[in-house]
């Protein structure tokens, strides 16, 4: 009985120890995620809009961008940007990681945003034009504000996915949660305990995010959207 108790206490101490060791790496994960996602949103909104707007040369380029990025594994993209471009442009780990994640998620968000724009009924666009708005004004004041509200749920999913994928930047030695986990593991070989704590930390972050997202959905919900034709 005593032995089991001793073992349990030992395990709990170990888990606690790992937790304390990993905690300082949490801000790095949050930082990479937020910066990458901000970049991804900016890229996604612009590229998504450009794809729908059918502008010469620019729109086909936007299409090439989404196709290429979606077809390349994120891990390869990270290696390419950090070791490939990073060597030439002298990019730091954080910068390279943020660019890789931002470029990757920018493509996903562009597609979501494009679908969001296409889901707005044609009549809205025509109503805007009939009021003398230019194409640009119609997009800016009528189509995009509605599309943005439509895409909150799928974009929020991407945010959570981006947070999880930020673990991949550990391969370029960015010291975020996963990297810190590997460090601790290589010192103690406590594989089960280390990855358990890492998983729990990610879970806490993603659950917090989901909560935040449902709050946002409520806040930005259009009064009775979808009822009016």
């Amino acid at each position: 009985m005593d032995e089991i108790l001793q073992w349990l206490i030992g395990q709990l101490k170990l888990l606690g120890d790992i937790f304390v060791y990993l905690l300082p790496a949490v801000p790095a994960t949050v930082e990479v995620t937020i910066l990458s996602f901000a970049l991804a949103l900016a890229v996604g909104v612009v590229v998504g809009t450009v794809r729908v707007a059918r502008i010469r040369i620019v729109s086909p380029l936007a299409r090439v961008y989404t196709d290429v990025v979606r077809g390349v594994p994120l891990l390869v993209l990270i290696f390419f940007i950090y070791f490939g471009l990073g060597g030439v442009l002298n990019l730091g780990r954080l910068t390279a990681g943020v660019i890789a994640l931002g470029v990757c998620y920018g493509a996903y968000i562009a597609e979501i945003f494009r679908a969001g724009i296409l889901s707005i009924p044609q009549g809205q666009y025509e109503a805007a034009l009939s009021l003398g708005m230019t194409r640009k004004q119609a997009f800016r004041h009528v189509i995009i504000p509605q599309a943005l509200r439509m895409v909150i749920p799928p974009v929020a999913n991407e945010f959570i996915a981006c947070l999880k994928d930020s673990s991949l930047v550990s391969v370029i030695a960015m010291r975020e949660i996963t990297r810190a986990g590997r460090e601790y593991f290589s010192r103690t070989f406590a594989d089960f305990q280390v990855w358990l704590v890492v998983a729990i930390l990610y879970l806490i972050l993603t659950l917090t995010l989901s909560r935040l997202v449902s709050y946002m959905e409520k806040k930005f919900k259009m009064r009775g959207y979808g009822v009016a034709a």
Partner: protein, 245 residues
């Protein structure tokens, strides 16, 4: 001489094999109220959409106040801003309040100040019986209220011409008479009106001239009495017999 505010010459528009507009020519004088009737698929809506340059034409020409429409021209937006369009399904902007719907184009297109836009919008709401609805959202309005809000939105730009595309078809009878009343009111206001409708009563109440369309062509055009009371044209007679039966 009174200027023609709308001038259509030999306008053709096809959708694949179907000729939506087949050599349509007519002129409208400033302040005239034209009611367009005819069976579904006659090209009535297509004609209105072409006049607002929402639809391309294949050949012929349309001029608004002596400006020839060209959808590729960069000033097409300016021409459109002189022509209001009221849709069958309203197409109010759901993300904006009623006030926002009515002020948006004033600010963006006419470059009026927010104060000026608000004042004019409030005035319009009052005029069209929507006092107190400024802060409501489109989804909170009844059909009749929605259509009146949409009319306010179009009127906010002080258009020279107002086009109604079956504006009462999606409404219940009570809301319908509501909107017809608004049309009457606008007619007295001196604005040029083109009204596509299935309601012959609208034609009798509002029209200076009635235009009868069938299969993309203008079959008859003239004063109400000539077209609806003593029609000479066989197709008009058939149509009226069917509708009034």
């Amino acid at each position: 001489m009174i200027r023609d505010i709308i001038s259509c010459q030999n306008v053709c528009r096809s959708f694949g094999e179907q000729k939506a507009l087949d050599d349509v020519s007519f002129k409208v004088q400033k302040g005239e109220k034209i009611v367009i009737v005819g069976p579904s698929g006659a090209g009535k809506s297509t004609l209105l959409r072409c006049i607002n340059a929402l639809e391309d034409i294949d050949s012929g020409s349309i001029a608004i106040d002596e400006v020839v429409l060209d959808r590729t021209h960069k000033d097409i937006a300016k021409v459109r801003s002189e022509v209001g369009f009221v849709f069958q399904h309203f197409h109010l902007f759901p993300h904006l309040s009623v006030l926002g719907n009515i002020t948006l184009a004033q600010r963006v297109v006419r470059k009026r100040s927010p104060d000026e836009s608000d004042t004019f919008a409030t005035e319009l709401l009052e005029r069209f019986g929507l006092t107190g609805k400024a802060q409501s959202y489109p989804s909170e309005l009844s059909g009749g209220q929605s259509q009146r809000a949409a009319i306010c939105r179009a009127m906010a730009l002080n258009p020279k011409i107002l086009l109604f595309d079956e504006a009462t078809s999606a409404l219940d009878p009570e809301s319908m008479s509501d909107v017809v009343e608004v049309m009457n009111f606008l007619a007295k206001d001196g604005i040029t009106l083109l009204i596509v409708t299935h309601e012959l009563s609208v034609a009798r109440q509002v029209a200076d001239r009635v235009m009868f369309m069938d299969e993309g062509r203008i079959e008859a055009i003239g004063p109400v009495d000539e077209i609806l009371v003593n029609p000479q044209n066989q197709r008009v007679k058939d149509f009226l017999a069917k509708v009034l039966a």
